[in-house]
């Protein structure tokens, strides 16, 4: 299967080919890949793609996967509507 057809980040439609291109250009930090490709920035917040990307970085740099730092985990843990947050803040009963 062509790298162009392998989707790594489902939320943001990022392919394995795009990941490999940036790795070859020297962007080997997951925070950099995230900022340039939007991997892990979608509704699932990297739950699906981060381990796959870690594996790719690990292979590329030839270092153990546990040495590849994942992205900073940021709130919220799941999507919540702004209206729901507002209601909670105004009248939490």
């Amino acid at each position: 299967m062509s790298k162009k057809d392998i989707i790594i980040c489902r939320c943001e439609d990022v392919t394995l080919e795009e990941i490999h291109q940036l790795l070859e250009q020297g962007y080997t930090n997951i925070e950099e890949l995230k900022r340039l490709l939007r991997v892990g920035m979608g509704p699932c917040q990297g739950t699906t793609c981060m381990q796959l990307i870690q594996r790719e970085v690990s292979k590329f740099l030839n270092i153990p996967i546990e040495e590849v730092k994942t992205q900073k985990v940021r709130p919220l843990t799941m999507g919540v509507k702004l209206n729901a947050i507002k209601e909670g803040a105004c009248d939490e009963s």
């Binding site: 925070e31 340039l36 509704p43 919540v80 509507k81 702004l82 209206n83 947050i85």
Partner: protein
Amino acid sequence: MKASYVIIGAGISGCSIAYNLAKKGVKDIIVVEKHYLTAGATGRCGAGVRQQWGTEMNCRLAKASIDFFSIAKDELGYQGDIEFKQEGYLIVAVNEEEDKQFAKNVILQNSLGIPSRKITKEDAKEIVPHLNTDVILSATFCPTDGHLNPFTMTDAYYQAAKRLGVTFLFREEVKSIVVKNDKIEKVITTNHEIHTSNVINAAGGYAKEIGDMVNVAIPVYAERHEILVTEPVEKIQGPMVMSFGMNIYCQQVPHGSFLMGRSNPFEKPSHNIESSWQFLDEMAKTVCTLLPPIGNLRVIRQWAGSYNMSPDRQPIIGTTDLPGFYVACGFSGHGFMFAPMTGLLLSEIILGEPLTIDITDLHIDRFKTARDIVIEKSVV
């Protein structure tokens, strides 16, 4: 290692300074960055670029910067997309004082060639149909303000600078700067000793700490500002909507997400960039009041970054009392949108060339004298 100039910080200011110096033929420039490209304030900013300011200096810097952004992709030879979108900033007035001030601002802006205009709330609703006009009096609109991707724009400067021979050292922190007899000798980082006589402080939130290393007191401090982003949806909003009185800015980026932020009037100076639930509550209340349908969108992430605050909320750019030590800091939340001019003007100052825009008033010495400083009020 040796360098003609060491630039501290690989945010957009540092990258723009490096690019402009290298373009003018300066060799052996080294940029030192504690983390990675755009790790600090640049990569955490609201991605807006505007010209609607209350001080003449900010208007001039902003307009010239927007002019650059419109040609940046070609000028820097960038393959990627900087997502420059000029669909305007709609700044709403929510009280009489703002209404009057905005009328004055528009006169100033127009006199400098910025095509902003004062409009009624009915006109504002035509531009942003989901705007709640019950809570506003009037608005100003500038169609050439807009959006720009902070990551790719900085990457464009970074790649252009690299092609011109600039060296970037990532994941290296400046630990000290050695000065002898009023002369910079070297910069010591976690991995290197770099011999140089010139240092440029573009360290954003940490600009004060860098100044302290060479005993140059810079009257700036870091202040946390928070942002959130929603799930992407189809396009419903062209311009950035902003209110100083309600304390909000909110735009839909080309990707489809809504990005919004507000400041906390009780925030204390610090390097804290953690996210807070208090911000989430206040942000939700504000956006649901001003732009009610946005309440139906899900928040998927929040984060924070540091504004580097100066006493008059205007940048500090130029030389200092220490020969060879230059500063580009104190942007007070607007370093991203001024970056093209920051890089160009500081490179002109350093090389003793005539200035494209006279920024004598942005020199750090303005805080030494007790004369009136002009404070920028158009800040969220």
